[in-house]
């Protein structure tokens, strides 16, 4: 064959050479295994939403989709009185995705809280940034994870002719197809389940969390490290009922503390702090816990005169250049008590898969990227992955393409890696920047925050990026 001059558009290496070689042997097993078009491994928020979105997609009407979930089916007969302590901040873009397959209606019928403003400020200075939508749009929604799951389950049942959900099923083994087999062998991915049964699929989507089995089995490299922080979540009762449509976040040197509105009298706490402090917080008695929260938001002990005066100087300068309203620092509502048994902690870390796709495999959600909760973007990035992947798969299906073909999978990967890498880097940078009390850095971030707050177009850009 003549020398190939054409540059492969996936870089010089064909897909086989991506990452460490993974054993791929021709499958000689039962060809009576069911062949699915798409198998989604992992039935969490992102996995279930992916299966739902594909099931409702018009070009997938004659395709077979399978969702594998290791846990049992969660039936939510009636919405419980007490709010769950695991909540997510849903951006408007994610809300659009959820409404595209009818899950948002179910959520609206249950409960959610819209917030219009967000105040983020520093513990070491007066600097703050206030995100505010001029038009009366919502900035985001706080929804309990259970509510979202229930809405997704309902919508999955609505398309049960196309989407099969297997509960209590865990995939224990994967066999990858050879990219260009010499001997005729099945070109599909073979999945062996815990109960011994096996199935084949044209496309495997890994949505199984940050310790993704799919990612590990595919041999995809993962850049990850653990933060020296754990997050404490709890459901809090406010001292008095307020309009409660503002999200509050304060950067303490030990980590950010956030108060997210759930209702007029309830808010959700997400406090990222050192492992020891987190363990202390979870075990201390209620009163001390409530006091700790209130003082974390109100205490100015970390202020220094130098930084304060430096901040005032810049504020004055900004006032001269741009005489607009200067938003004074507001204080979040005070907390009266905490729901019993709602205090939980979980460790934090960062992770990013070097590749989101391989032939016949795609990673979405936490399997592809894991982020610090300080920006409230974790599940939104996952929903963004879903939007992009469904768009690419839908176009591919309408063009009669093989669903596992790299041509559209790399399109998804490029789309999302660009967006996610930027967000991951920014979040990690913010986390590190705000973890210190060293004066030069405090000065830098004080001035940076004040300047950003003053430049409205920049704030709008940030809000737009985070709302996708």
């Amino acid at each position: 064959m003549a020398a190939r001059f054409a540059v492969s558009r996936w870089g010089a290496a064909p897909a086989v050479h991506r990452g460490p070689p993974v054993s791929c042997r021709g499958w000689s097993g039962a060809s009576a295994d069911a062949v699915y078009d798409v198998v989604v491994s992992g039935g969490g928020l992102v996995g279930a939403a992916m299966a739902c979105a594909l099931g409702h997609d018009i070009h997938f009407h004659d395709k077979k989709i399978l969702l594998l979930e290791a846990g049992p089916k969660k039936e939510l007969e009636k919405l419980s009185e007490t709010y769950s302590n695991r909540v997510s901040s849903i951006s408007p873009g994610s809300a659009t995705l959820l409404s595209s397959f009818g899950a948002w209606d179910h959520i609206c019928n249950m409960r959610y809280r819209a917030f219009r403003r967000m105040q983020v400020w520093d513990a070491c200075s007066e600097a703050l940034i206030m995100f505010d939508k001029d038009n009366l749009d919502d900035m985001g929604y706080i929804v309990e994870n259970d509510v979202i799951m229930h809405a997704l389950t309902k919508q999955l049942e609505a398309v049960s002719d196309r989407v099969t959900v297997l509960y209590r099923s865990r995939a224990v083994g994967y066999t990858w197809p050879c990219p260009f087999p010499v001997t005729p062998s099945s070109p599909w991915v073979h999945i062996t389940l815990g109960d011994g049964s096996s199935l084949q699929t044209k496309l495997l989507i890994g949505a199984d969390g940050h310790n993704s089995g799919v990612r590990q089995a595919a041999g995809i490299q993962n850049v990850s490290w653990n933060y020296d922080q754990s997050a404490v979540v709890a459901t809090l009762h406010l001292s008095e009922a307020t309009e409660n449509n503002v999200a509050w976040q304060r950067f303490l040197p030990s980590g950010p503390i956030a108060l997210l509105p759930l209702s007029d009298t309830l808010s959700s706490l997400v406090w990222s702090t050192s492992h020891e402090h987190a363990a202390e917080l979870v075990s201390m008695d209620e009163e001390k816990f409530v006091d700790a929260i209130n003082s974390a938001f109100w205490n100015d002990a970390n202020h220094t005169d130098f930084i304060d005066s430096a901040g005032t100087v810049l504020q004055y300068a900004i006032g001269l250049l741009k005489p607009t309203k200067v938003s004074a620092r507001q204080l979040p509502p005070s907390v009266a008590r905490v729901d019993a048994k709602s205090r939980v902690l979980f460790p934090l870390g960062l992770g990013h898969a070097a590749e989101y796709v391989r032939p016949r495999v795609a990673l979405i959600g936490d399997a592809a990227h894991r982020v610090h909760p300080l920006a409230g973007q974790g599940v939104n990035m996952g929903f963004g992955d879903i939007s992009s992947l469904v768009h690419h798969l839908s176009t591919a299906a309408f063009n009669g393409r093989d669903l596992g073909s790299m041509s559209h999978l790399t399109g998804y990967e490029t789309d999302r890696q660009r967006h996610n890498t930027a967000l991951l880097a920014a979040t990690d940078l913010l986390k590190r920047l705000y973890s210190t009390t060293a004066t030069p850095l405090v000065l830098l971030r004080t001035w940076g925050l004040q300047a950003t707050n003053a430049v409205s177009p920049l704030k709008e850009q940030i809000m737009a990026f985070a709302s996708k």
């Binding site: 064959m1 003549a2 020398a3 190939r4 001059f5 054409a6 540059v7 492969s8 558009r9 996936w10 064909p14 897909a15 060809s31 062949v35 018009i58 070009h59 997938f60 009407h61 004659d62 395709k63 260009f180 005729p184 099945s186 070109p187 599909w188 044209k202 299906a397 309408f398 063009n399 009669g400 393409r401 093989d402 073909s405 790299m406 041509s407």
Partner: protein
Amino acid sequence: MWGGGKLSYSGGRFLGVLGPGCRSSQAKRPRLTSSAVYSKNQLSWTVEIKPGVFNEYRTMWFKSYRMTFSCLNRMKSYRYPWTRPYSTSQNTVDNSEVKTFLALAHKWWDEQGVYAPLHSMNDLRVPFIRDNLLKTLPNHQPGKPLSGMKILDVGCGGGLLTEPLGRLGASVTGIDPVDENIKTAQCHKSFDPVLDQRIDYRACALEEIVEDTAETFDAVVASEVIEHVLDLETFLQYCCQVLKPGGSLFITTINKTQLSYALGIVFSEQIAGIVPKGTHTWEKFVSPEKLESILEPNGLSVQTVAGMLYNPFSGYWHWSENTSLNYAAHAVKSRVQEHPVPAEFVLKGETEQLRANAYASPGMHEELKK
């Protein structure tokens, strides 16, 4: 550019069966048609015995030259004098093209291999076919937009275009004269239960489909084929014959211009190696005007001609206003019957005569009756 083309045997060793409505000038020759097709290289000997009955014929394939003797023996049992094939000029398969495609018969499904540009051409040609066919359908099922349509993919090669059309719900028949190509295609579709049912592959030439008058198709696709056939007019006539009235003919091919020589032959084949050497011959390229001039008299009215451009660096194709390199054409068969009725009666009479001659041996008669 290239593709599992219609192969034409320049040695004239292939006899096609005259289809219905053929020119009466051919009526003088005995219609009996034994046809032998062989490739110089591989010594695979394919013999087709076709008596002048349009609906029944026997096809036999042999794998080595030694088999010719057993072939002759079988011939004897039919009491059929196996005459040396002679050209009736109804063949469309070009012998010289076989060599190129036989060597690459296993490489069809390597998406980054030799056929990579054809894989990425699907991004253009599948929507082109799909959208033009959907215009003719009053409503379509979501998920299977082409369901209910019968499509013939002439020169399907390894099934690169056949499979996407099958996935869109159509019942597709893929034909290719190169046996190895059909084998590769069969093997590839066998793993997908849905495609297995919707697609049917046959290793034959268009002539054989034409004989089988029971089959007519809603659409005929000849993608990257007409620049490989021996007799373009006949080929396009056959395409027209197998189309239902109002059916669509889709063609993608290369224009015959100086630019296509410079880029399509010199650059692609000799310099850059995008296309294997010897795949194309510039003399056989067809310009849209010539194509139209052949299609129009046959009752096919050209609806669209659109240029396609390949970017060798990105590996993607793009639609273009410029048709001087590659282009795609869509023609629709008119709904009015074109052929004069008397000619058919003449043909029928001759058929009866031939039938009488051919069925000299009762044994053969039995075989054919099967």
